[in-house]
Symmetry: D2
Subunit: 498 residues, 4 copies
């Protein structure tokens, strides 16, 4: 660890790679941050992909077969190139949708078949969904959802192809049985709940920690440094025993943990398990103390002062602020769940937010490799804009742009396919996904890994790039052109003088 | 009209001024638009500012005095430099707030006194409000709200200064009477409802059309051209008789109306009054036909085909689509109400949207005049970023940036004051307002005036500028730097060759 | 009036007629009542029937015609024998229903045609409605609703018979127009709101007080006597000016008002107008003081002590209790509205309740005249019960009871018709109506007139008859039979001794 | 069993004991009933009291101690004389309340201490609760709730007496820990859910069937007879494997099952498990078929015809009606849960209802033994009524009734104590409990045991006693008196003639 140049204080400053960078949607003066909060799963504890998703997938699959779904389903295995986060399941028609922030459909698949525009129109005449109909549309917001997303597609794929079943608009018929897409979705949800409630996934994870959980050697240093300058808390929906196992693995058994054996709890001022986020950011639940010897809850509500390293269960974000004596704006909360961690802590409590986006590593890599495609897209944009520039409502005729549009579609498709079958987590050609737009609205900072904060001083100023609105950009552009013109004229004049 | 160069087809193409431009948040291929919908008030019928707001203000003020508020209030007159749209009234503490999209407070005034940071903290320890608490916080979304916004500030100002009343946290005490900020707000709302329900504001407007309503001479040409290429409808919350009076003034009495007398209704395929937006975009109400001779509703629901120029009352956006045989994506809806017109039609129906922002004229003008300030802000940004660039979490010390931050605050304040006392409708320094962010999310297009569409052909392609996410911009920037470096090297090399 | 023996303290005690009696559902110890509250309309101020309902009917009818309904409707006049309170309108099918407390249909009419059982089944296969679907079913709870109930039936009657219109399940078709039962109901409701909001009904009432309002000469004495022993308040949804006009007529212009001119307000400790019941019994509205000189509201909320005769507007039942320093159980609240006055004050506040049921006069009269029918019904009941008494589940055969059942139906119908076309307000044969069951559940006391309290001392004990549950009654009956048997035996024995 | 005369068809008719009787709130013509539905737990399968409640109590107690509650709690054992059904827990103050249908408090205990009137007033100034505040007040509707009701009282008792804890209004303080009554209630609820969800109570029950479940030897005969005349279904919230175990014990292993071995399922036309009542009576859940070999659900929704003896899971009351081709009024539904079975099936579906009230055996026995007390109460009532009879509002003075009232209180208390510490399930003196009033409103029939239907023929007419409203009773009474008077006069006259 000491030999890691990136964290050694006296090492020569090296340029951060993109993968090590923290990106900024809204400026954050780190000097003002008095408290850091962390989620655990997929934030401190990053699960190894695709091993962990495969494990989840197999548990869902096996359980579904054991409750009566056809044995043929056992042939399916997890394919990490298919699902991305932020997809929406339409439980009425069994489709998987990628949408933009306004509900316009970007990609639509039925099982593993991707629907073409004309087929999408058959299901959605307006190529649009009313996303707030949450009874029908389920957004898969977390990395935990990848396994079930993929399994649901397997189900739809299987029944669609299987000739024992007749395909109907809302499901499949087999003799007297009707299997609606809706009930199939419900069965998958119930199965996922079963796996979480019974703890069998957690059990398997704990048994094979090396296989499923990434242990970053820098984590002890990272947390120690933060704790030296600010308060630190952990707030996880997991229960105590799982939290204990995971954090112990990450911190106490960490090869970089240092000579002096130190409890993982000593890295935190406050540890809260069973937080029930997003409820935690609203009314919350009763705050109880956890007996760290037995793992059991103490009865009654804790009302005393904060003791460092004490573990609590439940509570709410307001109680946390009280216990730590901080205000919302003083807190930087680091999590991976766009809805449960980031949107809610921002919208309801005004916290500063840091979204962990593990997919960013791949997103940046593809962006780098394929930037030529994006460049070409941009050039076609400019070209198109020029064609229309001098027309008004009285103009006759219309430029023929079909060739350009076809080329743009090809480029968009090629870009999308570089990310995976569902395209990028964040965009589809020039359009942002729902996930991308939420990331920009609610996450002040984001990065592929929370430890990337280590590459910045704790009094850093994260500066957001200035965002101009279209009319401001237009005015700016005109001004730039004018001053360039002026400069050119002056230059010419000056040259003339020469 | 024929002599107006901007609309004459054979006139030489002239550059559109900023004030005539349509700005683009999301690309719209106008060739695909098969139907144009228009709101009436502040969209087709733009009210003259500040005459119209003054009229509204005086009616509210006089009515409030007549129901028992102190006569001293009569001394107040409307000041157009104070309120802007999109402000939020905190009915608990009587403050007027300008907030960003996440609920962070940008400006806070109590009456006409602007509160400094430390005073804002007394009311709002976290400088943040939970905007979805709509019971407490009222957002003033429309230009109609300007009068009441200003009058409420007058009320707070008066009672705060008047030494007959004791100032308390939630209102004023006077002997046995307690006047809460909340009840005062309720009284203002009731008064505004009274003025709308009794129709006295409409009556005064109709009596003095020239004084209060802008009649654009291009409107008949504009609508005729649209109708030649697409379906056109009017959807207004106003009742029939007011709609009739206004539209008659705008179209039939228009000096440019042409020799042949033509009913204003003939400019539309469908006219719907009493639309009760935003309800109109959800379940709506019963659709009835209006008897245009008497202005009364026909009883029963109309179930037949569409007859051009027929006037309906009520209904819903779904019914409109059925009657006109169009889908949501085929419609460009033009309105001035960010919530009632634009957000709802976009979110619930997937319509294409065009927001009319009359304030844009002034916003662009100030932007143009003060762009030096923004330039300097940007330079300070870059300067700050440079200071922090090479630090990591092990770095000692911290750059002293207090002077720069003070300078930035001064610049922001000077920019704000150029727009008016509450600053810009759309931003406060580098930060966007709630209104600004909603405009960017929900309006595909926006402009200071709906007639600006006339400056573009009906098969125009409105291209949104490409928006890069911060990580993409960083990658892009790095690539640009690298290629510039390369170019420089090459140049040098080439020069060397010479 | 002075000669009315019932109010003269020194007159000889006479037996109260039924019409003067107060009936008891739950015992009330009047000595414990420390506060009397009164509603105004139909409680203190009883409107003359059918003159007042006719007035309301004509206003609705004329307004509906003036907004476009056919002129033929003007031929209809109000028929007091048709509607009763507590009927339910099914806005889907246009039917008027009389139901029992569980939603079972007792009577069903379509226009003025009463449907037979088989026809009722066509609409309601289970002869049952889900009453809590308040979007579809509207219960007409007050005497104010009688006019609109009747007018709605006129509408259905007219369109059903008129051959210009085709009868459909959910309304009428006429060319391109479809008139749904639902929209017709909405039009009637809107019209009734118009009549109330514009105050035209109140205006007409005030202009012709003698014609429309019953002035009980005992009212001043009644209120004076109460005020001598308890606190008294008035809580009405009417506004101040109407309240002032009505109460002035009832009390100050009362021939029995006494020589000394006395303000009507002096009869009360507290007067509250604009109460917005039933909201008044929940969160309520802001409490304001009314300036009795101008009739206008004072601005601000009154926070001081109570001054007798002061008039307030708004508020809530909790505020009233605070101002009068009484608890819910100390209050006897007298009103005519089963839902707004009685159910809500009982359920939410635990008040003692007294329901005014003007219809009781007629109900008691019919009961008295037709008690022979009820006696016969009872005898048939007993006869039937005897037939089945000794059968068990193994019994063969079954008594033929069709003749008895037919006779019972005839008797029920004859009883019903004695009350009016819709039968009694309170029962249909042996079954209680919804209104009847609510009266028993929520009204501790009830009477045809609130002044009937005058016939009882203010320390009276209103004793509820003991209610035995069926199993207790059975046990009781068995015991009675046994002891009668014993008595008979003993008697015989004793006789034997003689 | 064959010797039981009550079920032998050729036995001489004997009088039904009270315990064998079915009582009638609303007449039911059994000839019209085409379908019988049964709940299982506490309806067909009656659990042995107090063994079963003790088992539940001990499981709750032990689990609570194992999660951290003090070991001293293990000393408590179940006392069947304490709790009754229908009590209300006030989670704010930890009190157990017995209330009437309007929310007036009849009995209030804190732990095992019964509060006197003055102490009740300290908690509830109006001696009244707003029952619809279900967040605070929990009604314990079922016999399953008896164990937790008692355990919660043990908890309150323990902490109140234990001097380690300080008693506060809303809970107990112990050092830094605050144990609110609310969180203690939540812990009990969670524990009960744990016991149900893990199935440990069911497991213990099945292992010791004889100890915990009453097997009525008449059940096979009863169901066979019903099935001969009507359709029969079972609808239980239990899962299939528990249902299978219980019904097998009740029917197949029944000594009276007959020589020919017959599956318990053959007694029913339809069996539905996992019904999730009360949801079942509203929107319900997906209807699935149960594979009776494996006990697992078949995937998909069953859409075919009904096969006798088939077992389904989920569904809704509407689906049941469709499958059995019956309407709500044709069904007599027999259950023990006043809310989940009876109220909901009656209110939402219009079903005929039969409530099983095992407590009735004791209620009737006490009633019989103590009827002298009730008689005396009635006599005091009449005596009181006489005292007030001839007074009016002008009367001076007031009868002194304090002695009578004291005597009445003593009698009421003595009656209450005959039932148990909380008094009767159905009444407190002259006042009905909430449970009693709901029983009268929603149960058409009720009895201590569902098998009591066996004592009546299937074409029986259950006649409700005629219920007179107070004004009708008064009129009736007057008429009776008059005719008696007349009879006396006539008699005298006739005697005179002699």
């Amino acid at each position: 660890m000491d030999s890691d140049p990136s964290v050694s204080p006296d090492a020569p400053k090296v340029k951060r790679t993109f993968d090590q960078m923290v990106f900024v949607n809204r400026s954050v003066t780190m000097e003002d941050i008095q408290c850091y909060g962390f989620d655990m799963d997929y934030t401190m504890a990053v699960y190894k992909s695709p091993d962990y998703e495969s494990l989840g997938f197999e548990m869902i699959r096996d359980r579904m077969v054991s409750v009566g779904y056809p044995h043929e389903l056992l042939r399916y295995t997890y394919d990490p190139s298919f699902p991305t986060r932020g997809l929406v399941i339409d439980t009425a028609f069994g489709n998987l949708l990628k949408v933009d922030s306004n509900g316009n459909i970007l990609v639509c698949s039925h099982g593993f078949r991707f629907l073409k525009g004309v087929d999408v129109h058959l299901y959605y005449p307006n190529k649009f969904i009313q996303r707030d109909n949450t009874d029908r549309f389920h957004t898969l917001n977390t990395l935990f959802n990848l396994s079930e997303t993929y399994f649901y597609s397997c189900l739809v794929d299987f029944f669609t192809r299987c000739n024992r079943y007749t395909n109907l608009l809302k499901g499949f018929q087999h003799g007297d049985l009707f299997m609606s897409y809706r009930s199939m979705f419900q069965d998958v949800r119930d199965t996922v709940d079963f796996i979480h409630d019974t703890g069998i996934l957690k059990e398997r994870t704990i048994k094979n920690m090396e296989k499923y959980v990434i242990r970053d050697p820098n984590l002890p240093v990272f947390l120690s440094r933060i704790k030296a300058v600010a308060k630190v808390f952990l707030a996880t929906n997991s229960d105590y025993s799982y939290t204990e196992a995971i954090m112990n693995y990450l911190l106490e058994n960490n090869p970089n943990a240092g000579r002096e054996k130190r409890s993982w709890r000593s890295f935190f001022d406050l540890i809260v398990v069973d937080t029930k986020k997003p409820l935690f950011f609203a009314e919350g639940t009763v705050l109880r103390q956890v007996d760290t010897d037995t793992g059991k809850l103490r009865i009654g509500t804790y009302t005393g002062d904060l003791h460092a390293g004490t573990v609590y269960s439940g509570g709410s974000s307001d109680l946390i602020c009280d216990l730590l004596d901080v205000k919302g704006k003083d807190i930087l909360y680091v999590g991976d769940h766009i809805f449960g961690d980031i949107l809610k802590s921002k919208k309801r409590q005004g916290w500063r937010t840091f979204l962990v986006v593990p997919e960013l590593t791949k997103e940046l890599q593809v962006w780098d490799e394929k930037k030529g495609l994006f460049e070409e897209l941009k050039r076609l944009d400019v070209f198109l804009a020029e064609l229309y520039k001098h027309l008004d409502s009285g103009s006759q005729g219309c430029p023929d742009i079909r060739t350009i549009q076809t080329r743009m579609k090809v480029l968009t498709y090629r870009m999308d396919m570089s990310y995976g079958q569902m395209g990028s987590l964040l965009r589809s050609g020039a359009r942002q996904t729902l996930f991308g737009s939420q990331l920009m609205r609610y996450a002040d900072l984001y990065s592929s890994n929370c430890i990337n904060l280590l590459h910045y001083p704790f009094n850093y100023l994260f500066m957001a790039p200035p965002v101009l609105m279209p009319h401001e950009a237009a005015a700016q552009h005109a001004a730039d052109v004018a001053s360039a013109e002026l400069a050119r004229t002056n230059n010419t004049a000056m040259m003339g003088r020469n």
